[in-house]
């Protein structure tokens, strides 16, 4: 099962659909539970990776000691992308992606991984002025 793993500013980690972030019918999603946890405890996300079928996909982090040093993003977050077709041969649901997103002053980097095929895509999107 694809999932996200975040490092937090208090040194702890959070994993999608695990522990206090476990999802349930009608309950907030794991990510929204995480956002609430961050707000209540005045924490920030310092690192984010996504894991799909045992493969780990990392974004630049806010930590100083990361082995692949990089410009530090202002913000890290996650999204999923769902795609469905109405007509044609690839009827619903056609594709499902998990994404990790790093936001900088002038642009956003989005890393998407197809949860079935593991194909990955990187978007670099300039922010509007």
């Amino acid at each position: 099962m694809a999932h996200w793993v975040v490092s937090l500013s208090d040194g702890t980690s959070a994993i999608e659909n695990r522990g206090k972030f476990k999802e349930g019918t009608g309950k907030p999603s794991s990510w929204r539970k995480l956002l609430k946890h961050l707000e209540e405890n005045k924490l920030t996300i310092t690192g984010l990776k996504i894991v799909v079928k045992g493969r780990h996909y990392h974004l630049p982090t806010l930590s100083d000691d990361y082995r692949f040093a990089s410009a530090k993003p202002n913000n890290l977050y996650y999204r999923r992308k769902a795609v469905g077709d109405l007509m044609g041969s690839k009827f619903n649901p056609a594709e499902q992606y998990i994404g990790a997103i790093a936001e900088y002053d002038d642009f956003i980097i989005k890393l998407w991984v197809n949860e079935k095929t593991l194909d990955s895509y990187i978007q670099i999107i300039e922010k509007d002025d």
């Binding site: 999603s29 999923r80 769902a82 795609v83 619903n92």
Partner: protein, 185 residues
Amino acid sequence: MAAFTWDGHDDADWNFSIIATNLIKFCGAAFATKVIVGSFQEEMHIRTAAGTDTDACGAPHLHNIMYVDANNCDIDGAGSEDVANILTTECIRVQFTHGSAVNTENAIFYAYDGTTTTTPPVGVTFHALEQSDAAWTNAEGSASAVSISNQGSSDTHNFYVAISATPESVGEKTSFSVRMELDYY
């Protein structure tokens, strides 16, 4: 688990399920009538699996919203009116469900050739809108998609879209698919 379902309204409820074996058929003045080149569909029906091609929606049939011009449509043959008048129950409902409550954003809706999302459908002019839009969008290829409104936290999200198409030449159009994409969290 996330899933899309597509439905049409029969004036009682969303009882027309659009699935792999019950797809939308764009028609002329009746189920068995083809759409004329350069004209938009006068009726829409649910047709059963390819090969049998029978009308599965029955009376009252699936509502039809036909493109007239950029700001107007014809709903079920009632004459031209502003697209702002379109009701949700006259649209196709795209329902996105998830096991927990999620927000949606960056949703888009468009037609493509069924293979490459940036490529327009072949031999078809396609217009679409989200209910409450002020104008149709010539939504051919992902770069020209209809932008769909963000929605707040819920485990069920309903999006209401109208679609209209005209063939650019005689013959069956096989490189024509309609797609919904959205981000959620």
